[in-house]
Symmetry: C2
Subunit: 234 residues, 2 copies
């Protein structure tokens, strides 16, 4: 977390011209990240937030145009960290020389790690998904993850039936993210975000899903619904 990702000027965030206000801004963002781990965005009033940091609403609005802009900043930070994390993983070359099992483990580790690190903001964004740009920004982060990781997976699944395999890999990631989203939102058990077996299980699950496809046995009724197919064509 030694990031200056806090910096950069975001829409609705007034760039600070003195270090004083920059500290205020960072403190507000950090406090929000923390407070959102235990409460809803709606339950986090500006007064509460500023009180936590030891300033008042005036300073808040000196930095952020609105609560909305504030939360948006929190999201952007979480997304940037996610991107940086993924880029670092790939740059490390760790993915290159691995078999399917290890690749799955590394990707699962990555995803779970991000959710652990951004549990509060992620949950808040999930709750507001489909509102303006809430979760969709994270969705995009996930989309990139899938698009970029899929070739790595395919390379380990032998030749042929590219389309089918691609969809199955997509579903495997959908499963992985689904589990993580549900944990963050509802912690349904048996596996929690901090359980030691979460990542191995996620990895095993992804591997198992794609192996079934690679081995030829595809599920019945494959493909999209007629409705969805029609929509995609249009």
């Amino acid at each position: 977390m030694t990031d200056d990702l806090f910096s950069l000027d975001l829409p609705g965030v007034t760039p600070s011209r003195q270090s004083r206000s920059r500290e205020t801004m960072e403190a507000l963002l950090k406090a929000g990240e923390q407070l959102l781990r235990t409460r809803h965005l709606e339950d986090l009033s500006i007064v509460d937030l500023t009180a936590e940091v030891g300033v008042t609403v005036g300073s808040f609005y000196g930095r952020f145009e609105s609560k909305d802009a504030y939360f948006n900043a929190l999201q952007v930070i979480a997304i940037r960290r996610g991107q940086a994390r993924y880029v670092a993983l790939r740059a490390s070359g760790a993915l290159a020389q691995t078999d399917l099992a290890e690749l799955c483990r590394l990707l699962a580790e990555h995803a779970a790690g991000w959710f652990r690190e951004h549990e509060g903001v992620a949950r808040a964004a999930l709750r507001h998904s489909s509102r303006p740009e809430r979760w969709s920004a994270f969705k995009e982060l996930g989309r990139v993850f899938v698009v970029v990781s899929t070739p790595d997976m395919l390379a380990r699944l032998g030749p042929g039936r590219r389309a089918a395999k691609t969809r199955t890999v997509g579903f495997a990631f959908q499963a992985m993210f689904g589990i993580l989203v549900n944990i963050v939102l509802n912690d349904p058990g048996p596996c929690g975000l901090d359980d030691a077996d979460l990542v191995p299980r996620l990895a095993a699950l992804v591997e198992a899903i794609v192996r079934v496809e690679a081995d030829g046995a595809a599920p019945d009724g494959r493909g999209r619904s007629p409705r969805a197919r029609r929509a995609a064509k249009a």
Copy 2:
């Protein structure tokens, strides 16, 4: 949906003494179920809701003590239908004479069907999870599903290592519900709620997860985190 599940007196719901008000009540509940498929609970104002039905706020408050009680009623209805659905499935005897694959398919079909039928209310409840009793009521529904279905699964996984298998079965269901929750909330793709391959894929996934366990190869680092273990002991 020819249910009189609408009836029964719920906390915060004033029992109607004339059919007139009962119709109003049912219309309000049905309209809510429908409207929540496309909008957030917060975006559903009492005025909107009553306008949809052709009554006014007065009648709403004649039936429901509050918006909260109203939404609670919607949840209870969804839960009762889920229970009834599951009881019917078991009573039909369909589960009894099946192999593992078919059992998984039936359970996946059941779960996906419920989410399809209650997409709106489910999504709204998910968004408010951890608030008073929002999602937790559904969580309980899922818990019962898991507890009751687990023996059926175990019976098809050979003898021995009961505890490990039970946890794995739990994780398989966690995966299934996680995917469904995420679809309802974010529709991340590739599989949507109405896609023909969703249920087969869910079934295959559940089967694959538990088969790996049955075949002996268990994921590393199994079990809960030290923190969770400590908490469980206390």
